[in-house]
């Protein structure tokens, strides 16, 4: 008589135990989903917002287009060298030397672009550096400020006497000549001059788009003392 209720009681305990384990498993599952979902949300909110991502996508598209052009150009150079035609290598090397001298600011250059004139008192090296950064982002390929060639590595500093480029003071008004895609540079120059005109320190800020901007200033190549090719 007493064996049956005992068996039923044991079964009931077992079922209850299994239920508890099942519920605990469910809790663990839901908790994992919850934590992962929150981590995902946090990552998305802390990392970057959708607008920043959209800008990043735009930048990457432009960068990849630019890399594709470089690949195509290098492919053409390789094909020319592989052709084995007389003088092909000399032609490729001569073109490359000419291009690199222009990139490094070692030769006078010309091309389409913009000329910006900023007349102001109290502008600092930071203001000039900002302008140069904006123009670089707008596709500047060669830059000159008051007959001083500017490339990466040419220091722009603030001193007691004013703003210096490569240790030479550049007194206002600043005339910034830039060669590159005139349309893109025109948009950048327009925005820049609008902002500058709203600045109390600025007396005048104008720009003109030109079909042929001439940059005559050059830099002197500094031979390497410490670095060796590896």
């Amino acid at each position: 008589m007493s064996a049956r209720p005992e068996a039923a009681r044991r079964r009931s305990i077992r079922v209850r135990g299994i239920s508890v384990w099942l519920i605990a498993l469910l809790v663990a599952l839901v908790a994992t989903i919850q934590i992962r979902s929150q981590a995902e949300v946090e990552r998305s909110l802390v990392g970057a917002d959708a607008t920043s991502l959209a800008f990043l996508i735009d930048d990457l598209h432009r960068a990849n287009d630019s890399l594709a052009v470089e690949k195509s150009d290098l492919g053409n150079q390789r094909a020319k060298l592989e052709s084995g035609q007389t003088g092909a290598a000399d032609q490729v090397l001569t073109d490359e030397a000419s291009r690199l001298r222009a990139i490094e600011g070692l030769t006078p250059v010309h091309g389409p672009g913009v000329v910006i004139v900023i007349d102001a008192s109290g502008l600092t090296a930071l203001d000039l550096q900002d302008a140069l950064n904006n123009l670089a982002a707008g596709g500047a390929e060669a830059v000159d400020v008051n007959d001083r060639r500017v490339i990466m590595g040419v220091p722009v500093y603030q001193t007691n006497g004013g703003v210096t480029i490569d240790s030479a003071i550049v007194m206002p008004p600043w005339t910034i000549s830039v060669i590159g895609d005139a349309n893109r540079l025109g948009v950048v120059a327009d925005l820049m001059t609008q902002q500058l005109r709203a600045d109390r320190r600025v007396r005048a800020a104008t720009y003109r788009v030109e079909a042929d901007v001439a940059i005559r200033s050059v830099l002197t190549e500094k031979p390497f003392v410490y670095a060796v090719a590896s």
């Binding site: 839901v30 090397l93 091309g111």
Partner: protein, 240 residues
């Protein structure tokens, strides 16, 4: 009711309560971030990742093409003294343009995000930004650097810095975030002395105090710089 029964019921109640809380949290999180918003965000992230993949592939191909061109030029130069002279000139120009890997003594500078101030609100002064990196780079170039790489990205005469708070974009990206490592090969003593000068890099130093932004550097007798692996086009420039 036995004590074991009571314990089981209490345990069940506890587990049910926990389940309730977790489910409520899940529902709340989904209400805060509607699933379609998250999906849109994830699609954007996927796009960025794909574009970054393409970017990396293109860089590898460009590096490989430059290597092949160099070999072909060397073969041609071996057959003619005039071509060899041209090749030497181009090699020197390429080295100055950052198109050749180089090594030598120098310094490694590390910039790392600080911590947000207690009442800094939406201020981002604790984040390393592109101006900080540009300031360090300008200082190093002014003090004898002959070549510089930032997080393994070699700088060229046309290099440009941009970005937003906490993001540093150099040339054709993709963006870097803290920590940022600037490696410069050149006059190690001059560069170290300049970095030691408390009046140098005033912007970063002020934020070292305010937000504990990190700026550390270390001299090294032998550092390596990779070759530039991106676009160096000047389609609108013609030599006069």
């Amino acid at each position: 009711m036995s004590s074991r029964n009571l314990a089981s019921i209490a345990l069940l109640a506890l587990v049910a309560l926990a389940t309730g809380f977790v489910l409520a949290g899940q529902v709340k999180a989904q209400l805060l971030t509607p699933s379609n918003q998250l999906a849109r965000y994830q699609a954007l992230v996927r796009s960025v990742q794909e574009l970054e993949g393409t970017n990396a592939d293109s860089r590898r191909q460009i590096a490989s093409l430059r290597g092949q061109i160099d070999s072909l030029e060397s073969q041609a130069a071996a057959q003619s003294a005039a071509t060899q002279a041209l090749k030497n000139e181009v090699a020197d120009l390429r080295a100055h343009a950052g198109l050749v890997a180089m090594r030598g003594p120098g310094v490694e500078v590390t910039l790392r995000n600080g911590v947000p101030g207690p009442d800094s609100g939406s201020q981002t002064g604790y984040l390393v930004n592109f101006e900080d990196v540009q300031d360090v780079v300008n200082l190093l170039f002014a003090q004898g650097a002959e070549g510089i790489a930032v997080n393994g990205r070699r700088l060229t005469p046309l290099s440009e810095f941009s970005g937003s708070a906490g993001e540093v974009v150099i040339d054709q990206g993709p963006p870097f975030t803290s920590p940022i490592k600037v490696v410069a090969v050149g006059d190690r003593n001059r560069m170290q002395a300049a970095l030691d000068d408390p009046s140098a890099l005033p912007g970063v130093r002020a934020r070292q105090v305010q937000f504990q932004v990190h700026l550390t550097f270390l001299g090294n007798p032998d550092l390596s710089l990779p070759a530039y692996d991106s676009s160096l086009q000047i389609p609108h420039v013609s030599p006069t």
